[in-house]
């Protein structure tokens, strides 16, 4: 995929992090996990350079262990980089004041199970120093938005996985963040919930918010993301606009209806006589999945080629 590699390289040019349109920037970001004695164990992320622009939905894609979560944790200062730096809103990742403008939905909604929905939102609202009246209003709004109005007084330990995801999303939105970081946002959600989540993500983007999401639900990524970075074994393999990446430049796709088998073979012959190759004449597939598999199809144990 030479064209996409070129796109990836183009975006690897160095950037001034004070550019107000760049929300997240990583420079040569790397993370090596070490054991107690400081010996290298795993190089989870190798020299990542990406930047996320204001108002876009940026997807981080990759199989398990590819460095997606590590990247997200490095960006939020939950892990310290072994090399390079990460900036959010022009601030160092370890600076907690950047969190004022971030909403984060972790992989499994790490929330306090002994609180109910209202208490949860009130608690996280307090962490943003929000005044009581606004906190109450916002919590109420969000509970209704994520559809938990009937369970607002129930402790989270009684919640199903999908409900936990919903309250997790609500807590991520409590501060009306400018940047939303979503780790596997649709896992555990039913198809309707999943659809609602995707609609919400697009709506938030339209409101001018920036969204960084990481997922291996390829369909989700294809549906919502403006740009994606595909990570594999800690390295950046592809980076670019989704429509660009999925456009297979040396393949032409013709959509037509009502062709007879005879006509199909005639078209194939015509292509051959004109010097082209017939790859297939078939119904189109989910090409994101193909793209993904193309990049990831090394023989690895524990690989998960498709999540959809």
């Amino acid at each position: 995929m030479s064209a996409t590699s070129a796109a990836a390289q183009a975006s690897q040019e160095s950037f001034d992090h004070t550019d107000s349109n760049v929300v997240i920037e990583t420079r040569n970001l790397g993370k090596t996990y070490r054991d107690f004695w400081g010996r290298k164990k795993v190089a989870a992320l190798k020299s990542l350079d990406i930047e996320v622009q204001k108002g876009e939905i940026f997807g981080l894609l990759g199989p398990n262990g590819s460095g997606k979560s590590t990247t997200i944790k490095l960006i939020q200062g939950l892990l310290f980089p072994s090399s390079g730096r990460a900036f959010v809103f022009g601030k160092e990742a370890r600076d907690v004041t950047k969190n004022e403008r971030i909403g984060y939905l972790p992989e499994e909604s790490y929330l306090y199970k002994f609180l109910n929905a209202e208490e949860t939102l009130d608690f996280y609202g307090r962490l943003f120093d929000m005044p009581a009246a606004i906190r109450k209003e916002r919590a109420d709004e969000l509970i209704k938005m994520v559809g938990l109005n009937n369970s607002r007084r129930r402790q989270l330990r009684e919640y199903s996985k999908g409900m936990t995801r919903r309250i997790g999303l609500a807590q991520a939105l409590i501060n009306e963040p400018d940047l939303l970081i979503l780790d596997e946002p649709t896992t555990g959600m039913d198809p309707i919930g999943s659809r609602e989540m995707k609609d919400l993500i697009i709506r938030l983007r339209d409101e001018g918010k920036t969204i960084l999401l990481c997922s291996h639900q390829l369909a989700d990524v294809q549906d919502v993301c403006d740009r994606v970075a595909i990570l594999h074994q800690g390295e950046l393999r592809e980076l670019g606009r989704v429509d660009e990446l999925l456009k297979v430049r040396d393949v032409t796709e013709v959509h037509a209806k009502g062709l007879s088998e005879d006509l199909k073979s005639k078209i194939a012959d015509l292509i051959k006589t004109e010097g082209g190759d017939v790859v297939s004449i078939d119904n189109p597939t989910t090409t994101m999945e193909e793209l993904f598999l193309d990049i990831v199809q090394d023989d690895r144990p524990g690989s998960r080629p498709s999540g959809s």
Binding site: G38, N99, F114
Partner: protein, 608 residues
């Protein structure tokens, strides 16, 4: 109970003249210096000398410039509330139920035949409360943060604008609040338990002497005899019982028809909070000259010094502020808790005898000798009447007998000297500055018990601070063991300190290890036949011991905070002592918070 000399220091006396402030600063300096060096060494190992130094100083800079100014009370409150809710929903209130059950059945097991029931009950409830509350603090503080890191809920917190300071303060405040609520409830129950436990009355029986005296029925394993006071008009209205089991009852006589009924009131003298006034002690040697200390009678007592009987040796206490206003009853109550050391059996029935002389500070006015018998295992109460006979040195320098007034003649300007001598030849009296004091008045028992519980509260806060600090870098169980180790060392700090200071016989750790297989006695000098080697061993031991002393000094001495004995023995807890303990608690709180901050700040919370 014994009151240590260090407990008598006033707050500022301790802070400045007894180097409390200096000691605190040294501990803080050592902790930070050591911390900086260790962190820098790790930094060098990971990033090289230049980058390592930058990273270490950056963390310090961030604390002072960013995280401390950025700490918000609202967030601390939110995190405290969370810690509180967590504890409550983990059902810590079960502890309260345990306490109530213990109290309900305690009456069955506590020996009601003891000589002072109040002492027993107070000791019991206060010890029970402190064990429960300290255990609670230990468990809550050590496991919470590691559990949050393990369950990754901490990640949802730290991705909000939450400073590490707020996480630590939130935990400490939250858990302290839980403990406080429980402690207040336990305190109230304890007070009721003690109050109700000792309350009893007797019915009068066997009146004799024309209704002027009588005995009572047995109640609460004892009975009293009592004498009625005849008023000037010949009527009998009030009386008082003898002292039995450390208390008396007031007896009231009422006329009911042609019969007189005698009623006994509540027990008096059990729930006390005596306010002692301590003085300065000076020792005079056998020749009657001022001496720096008394005699050493061997390994008898660490804190008392001894004076010899039938010699000029004496101990003189100087008190100030002694006037009729402060002692409105017109008498001077003195309490003594001296020790006797016998070189021969003597008159074992009577006991060792001593004498008290009251003297003006200029030495011109002196009372007659007031003999007493040393009560070795109890507090000896002596009441000096206002009018007493004595001598005055006249213009010729000769003593002249005269009737004296305690306050106007002897205690001129409020200053008085009280001299103690031992009469019996060959016997010795052990005394320390706290062994003789004036009983200035009574404080409220409930208030004193509150102060005692404040001591337990401070111990609990210390445990929580230590637990939270350890849990920032250790896993739950390990943090608990570490805190427990501090707790034990803190309670039995004296033993550890003696070993560390080298006061305990047998030398330091290396010497002891050599002594054990050689089976040499601890009091014999180490003899390996090689002086160089012996010196080397002693030198190495000194190094180890010095490190240990520094280490032990950094651990709060929990035992010191335990003032329940004051409550049980009926002493008002000195305000200076409470102020000192509060200061120490505050200092440890700050120290633990800062140390915890550095660990939390430099920890990768997602890497667990």
């Amino acid at each position: 109970m014994r009151i240590e000399e260090y407990q008598l220091w006033g707050y500022f006396e301790w802070l400045i003249f007894k180097f409390g402030l200096l000691h605190g600063l040294i501990v803080a300096a050592i902790v930070f210096l050591l911390g900086f060096i260790v962190c820098y060494i790790i930094g060098i190992g990971r990033y090289g000398p230049g980058e390592g130094f930058f990273r270490v100083t950056r963390v310090i800079y961030e604390l002072l410039a960013r995280d401390l100014p950025g700490t918000s009370l609202s967030r601390v409150y939110a995190l405290s509330k969370l810690a509180f809710q967590e504890a409550i929903r983990r059902k810590v209130l079960v502890l309260m139920a345990v306490f109530i059950v213990v109290l309900l059945f305690a009456g069955w097991f506590l020996d009601s035949n003891t000589s002072n029931l109040a002492k027993l009950y107070i000791s019991f409830v206060m010890t029970g409360t402190s064990y429960l509350v300290l255990l609670l603090g230990l468990f809550l503080s050590c496991f919470s943060l590691p559990a949050d890191i393990k369950s990754k809920t901490i990640q949802t917190i730290t991705t909000k604008p939450v400073r590490p300071t707020e996480i630590i303060l939130g935990r400490i405040f939250g858990f302290s609040a839980v403990g406080t609520v429980l402690l207040v409830a336990m305190g109230i129950l304890s007070y009721i338990f003690v109050y109700r436990g000792i309350e009893h009355s007797h019915a009068a029986r066997d009146m004799a002497d024309d209704g002027k005296s009588g005995t009572t029925f047995v109640e609460a394993s004892h009975s009293h005899t009592f004498e009625m006071v005849t008023e000037d008009d010949g009527t009998v209205k009030y009386g008082v019982t003898d002292e039995e089991k450390s208390h008396v009852h007031t007896v009231t006589a009422t006329e009911a028809g042609d019969k007189t009924e005698y009623q006994l009131g509540k027990p008096e003298g059990l729930l006390e909070a005596r306010v002692p006034v301590f003085g300065q002690m000076a020792i005079y040697d056998r020749a009657g000259n001022l001496s720096s200390s008394g005699l050493n009678v061997g390994f008898e007592s660490e804190y008392q010094t001894y004076i010899e009987g039938n010699s000029l040796m004496s101990a003189v206490w100087t008190f100030s502020g002694v006037n009729a206003k402060k002692f409105p009853n017109g008498e001077l109550p003195i309490e003594l808790s001296l020790k006797a050391f016998r070189t021969f059996k003597g008159d074992i029935v009577t006991g060792v005898q001593g004498e008290i002389v009251l003297r003006s500070t200029d030495g011109l006015v002196e009372s007659d000798r007031i003999p007493f018998i040393v009560q070795e295992f109890d507090v000896d109460q002596q009441v000096i009447p206002q009018k007493l006979s004595g001598t005055v040195i006249n213009a010729d320098g000769d003593p002249e007998p005269k009737e004296l007034d305690l306050f106007t003649d002897i205690a001129k300007g409020g200053k008085i000297e009280i001299q103690i001598r031992c009469i019996d030849p060959g016997q010795y009296l052990g005394l320390s500055v706290a062994d003789l004091y004036l009983r200035a008045g009574e404080s409220n028992f409930g208030w004193n018990m509150f102060k005692g519980f404040l001591g337990i509260w401070m111990q609990m806060v210390l445990v929580i601070c230590l637990g939270v600090m350890f849990s920032t870098f250790l896993s739950g169980p390990v943090a608990m063991v570490a805190t427990l180790a501090c707790l034990i060392l803190g309670f039995f700090g004296n033993v550890a300190m003696d070993v560390a200071r080298g006061d305990a016989p047998g030398g330091g750790p290396i010497e002891t290890i050599i002594r054990m297989p050689m089976q040499t006695g601890a009091l014999v000098d180490l003899d390996l036949g090689n002086p160089t080697l012996e010196t080397a061993i002693k030198f190495a031991d000194q190094g180890v011991l010095y490190t240990l002393v520094t280490f032990f000094q950094a651990i709060p001495s929990f035992g010191q905070f335990n003032t329940s004995e004051f409550v049980a023995y009926g002493f008002d807890i000195f305000p200076g002592l409470i102020a000192r303990h509060l200061t120490m608690t505050l200092c440890y709180f700050l120290l633990c918070s800062i140390v915890g901050y550095f660990f939390l700040k430099t920890r990768e919370l997602a890497a667990a």
